[in-house]
Subunit: 266 residues, 2 copies
């Protein structure tokens, strides 16, 4: 039987942090990554529009014969997961559930903060998921619209980013949250500045590793895990593959190989 | 004969500053504004993709029977104007030419700076246009990727915005430019902080008024100007009309009436 790949998608570059964790945890799997650079960002758009974009990508990944789809985008996980699961013929894993579970397991004082895009925060998907795992958790949410452009501008370590982060994190400090979910795949790039501001007692939850472990568990349970050979990576972007490759290399400090152009709905 | 409207479009909200100028200059004209909030922003996307988005919108405006299309988006003007003029059956005015002309007429020391999105800067459209009107102008360009999200986050008057602006404007000060083009329709919202940093001797070129005058001139010359009645405004957005209306009201400090949802290519 031909080895089937895992499909991973994100609105753009952020999901590459998840791709990296999946590659590390599942080195034998073939991976197909789709970055929707023509429609990025998702975080300021409506449920209906994000769902439409996500279904188009999932359809394309299914055409490539994937055995599993990983939604490596918090906004798409928060807004489109139900529809994706309804309409896809293969299983779909979102980035949100593993992050919510990890936060529920991590907090000691029961005060959790969720940092995310405007759409993720508005969806209330994180609070709902956390409360499922740990009822009576005290949850605050903070939309951080400037974090994505700051990361994409490669400004992670600038005074401007520090100032923006201080503004966004003020309520987190005021509420004495001991656990903070980095609820957008771009935010791990800002881990250092966020940790600096919050101090060493606050735990940051980055869902990339937890999600990779969930994928491994899923494949193992369903006897679909590839166990030999080095996995192949194929990367598609819906706009400007050269720019995508350049920014991806900066973000990952790693070469992701050729990036192919694939327009959906064109 | 039925009164024909003027169509105006932008990737999102920025073009509303131009809408406002056109309404003021041409109070009798019916206006149809289209904000492409499903695909915003254009500034980080390729020529091919921005052209595709622009042509879809122009086709929709033509179906509404407009007599003139105004491209109230610097990126679309820089990247898609030639194709728009080729494929549209009505005349198309871009925001870029009037701004370039005004800058060429304004500068005294012949040193002009262009602030714009990554795509506008990369296109070299402003330098080409300025040199046409004023050969041997010394032009520098600066991509300001964070200005749009700062405006959309409603952070115009914050220390973070000041810090970001200082970083972007350092080369403009170093080169002693006496004229600076605000080459993105969002940037006039940051006029005060930019003017503060550059000082009173530097002239800021905001193309909204110049473009409105160009539209007036065009209609007058072609005997298409509406001269009676109060013009009607119709606003469409390609995603989340409620959010669009809310942000538009903040940006303009004015009510734009009902915003209708119109998805293109859905």
């Amino acid at each position: 039987m031909k080895k089937q790949a895992i499909g991973i998608f994100d609105s753009g570059l952020g999901g590459l942090t998840i791709l990296q964790a999946v590659r590390h945890t599942l080195p034998h799997e073939d991976l197909i990554y789709f970055g929707d650079s023509a429609n990025v960002p998702y975080g300021s758009k409506s449920k209906q529009t994000v769902t439409r974009f996500s279904l188009d990508i999932a359809r394309f990944l299914e055409e490539q014969g994937v055995k599993l789809i990983i939604v490596a985008c918090n906004t798409a996980s928060a807004l489109a997961l139900t529809q994706l699961r309804k309409q896809c013929h293969v299983p779909v894993l979102g980035v949100l559930e593993p992050g919510a579970l990890k936060a529920a397991q991590t907090t000691r004082n029961g005060k959790v903060a969720v940092l995310g895009t405007e759409a993720t925060v508005k969806s209330e998907a994180y609070p709902k998921a956390i409360l499922k795992y740990r009822p009576r958790t005290n949850i605050i949410q903070q939309a951080c619209a400037l974090f994505v452009p700051l990361v994409e501008e490669n400004w992670a370590n600038t005074p401007a980013t520090r100032l923006v982060a201080q503004t966004y994190l003020a309520p987190v400090i005021r509420h004495r949250c001991d656990t903070v979910i980095l609820g957008c795949t771009h935010y791990p790039v800002l881990k250092k500045v966020i940790a600096d501001i919050l101090g060493p007692k606050v735990q940051l939850v980055d869902s990339a590793e937890t999600l990779a472990q969930a994928a491994q568990e899923f494949l193992y349970t369903h006897h679909q895990q590839a166990t030999t050979g080095r996995g192949k990576l194929t990367v598609y972007a819906s706009d400007d593959p050269a720019r995508f490759k350049r920014l991806a290399s900066c973000l990952l400090a790693d070469d992701i190989g050729t990036v192919r152009l694939k327009k959906l709905n064109a």
